[in-house]
Symmetry: C2
Subunit: 194 residues, 2 copies
C-alpha cells in the first residue's frame, strides 16, 4: 500500500515524541505484549502436543484392540491445525514485537497490523476450541436422544488429554482477547500523546 | 501537517486536508459501523430463529414418534444463548453508534469501548459456531470409530435448519471481525488527525 511504501508517513508516527519522556511507558507496553505472546506460544504448543499424544488403545470385548486418537474426528484435526497456526503466528509476532522495540517509528504500524491479525487468530482459535469442545462433550456425556454412546468411560487417558488440551486453548483465547485489547488501548493512548 | 505530502494516504484514512472537512468522513465511518451492526443484528436473530424452529418429529420403527430438537444437545443450547447475546449486543450498539453521531467528543471513547466488546463478542460467537458446527458435523457424517450414527439421514429438515443457522452465524463472525477492524483502523486514523 502507498502508506507502507512511504517512509515519510512512517516518520510521522514518531513525530512529537523525539525527546521521548514516555519511552519507559512504550517499553513497558511492548514488554507486556511480548510476555503475552510468549504465553500464547507456550499455550498453543502445549495444546497441540497434549492433543497429538492423546492416543489410547483398549481391548474391547468382541472387537479386539481399538484405538482412540484425535485423527478419528475432523473437529480435533481442525483444532490441531488451528492451534499450530496460532503457535506459528505467536512465534513470528514475538520476533516482530521484539524487533520493533528498537524502531519506534514502526511501532504504531506494528500495533495496527498485529491488532488486525490478533482478531483473526482469536476467531480461528475460539472456533477450533468450541468445535473440539463440543465433540469432546458428546464423548464425555454421550447423547441418549440420538444414541451416541459415551467414549470417555472407556478411553479415560484419551479424554484427560482432550480436557487438558482444551483448557490450555481456552487460556490461549483469553490471551488473544487481552492482546487485542492491549493493542487497541495502546492505539487509543497514542491519540492523546501526539 | 506532513501528511499533505502524501495525498493517497490521506484519502485512505478518509480525511481531507486542513480545517476539519473531515466531518463527512466521520459520518461515513459511523454509517458503515451502523450498517455492519444492523447486519449483525439481523444475522444473530435469523440464526437463533432458524435454530429454535428446527424441531422435527419422525416415526422410528420400534420406537414410535421421536423428536429431534436443538434442546437435545448442550452445544446447540450454548449456540442459541451466545447468538441471543450477540443480537442483544448488536441492538444496544446500534443505538449507541447512532446516538454518538451527534456527540463528536464521545466518538473516540465509543470506538475504544465497542472495540473491546466486539472482540469479546467475536470470541463468544466464534466458539459457539464452532461448538454447534462440530456436533452438527457428527450428526451429518456420524463417527464409525466410536459408533456414533448419522442423524441427518433421518432428520433432514432438522439438519437443513442447522446448516442454515450455522452459515448465518459464520457470517456474523465475519461481521464481528470487520467491526473490530473498522474500530481499530478508525482509532489508528485518529492518531494522524490530532
Amino acid at each position: 500500500m502507498a502508506s507502507s511504501a512511504d517512509p515519510k508517513s512512517d516518520q510521522e508516527y514518531g513525530k512529537g515524541a523525539p525527546p521521548r519522556p514516555d519511552a519507559p511507558a512504550v517499553v513497558k507496553y511492548f514488554a507486556v505484549d511480548v510476555a503475552l505472546r510468549v504465553l500464547l506460544f507456550a499455550a498453543a504448543v502445549t495444546g497441540v502436543v497434549v492433543m497429538v499424544t492423546s492416543k489410547q488403545t483398549k481391548w474391547v470385548p468382541g472387537l479386539g484392540d481399538r484405538d482412540a486418537k484425535f485423527k478419528h474426528s475432523p473437529a480435533f484435526i481442525y483444532y490441531v491445525v488451528a492451534l499450530s497456526i496460532a503457535g506459528l503466528y505467536a512465534l513470528i509476532s514475538i520476533l516482530a514485537s521484539v524487533s520493533v522495540l528498537s524502531k519506534p517509528n514502526f511501532q504504531t504500524k506494528f500495533l495496527l497490523h498485529f491488532a488486525f491479525l490478533d482478531v483473526l487468530m482469536l476467531g480461528i482459535v475460539a472456533s477450533a476450541t468450541g468445535s473440539a469442545g463440543g465433540v469432546a462433550y458428546v464423548g464425555l456425556k454421550g447423547n441418549k436422544h440420538v444414541g451416541w454412546i459415551k467414549v470417555c468411560s472407556t478411553y479415560d487417558k484419551f479424554c484427560q488429554h482432550l480436557a487438558g488440551s482444551l483448557a490450555v486453548s481456552l487460556f490461549a483465547c483469553v490471551l488473544l482477547v487481552f492482546l487485542t485489547w492491549l493493542s487497541i488501548f495502546s492505539l487509543h493512548a497514542r491519540i492523546h500523546k501526539y
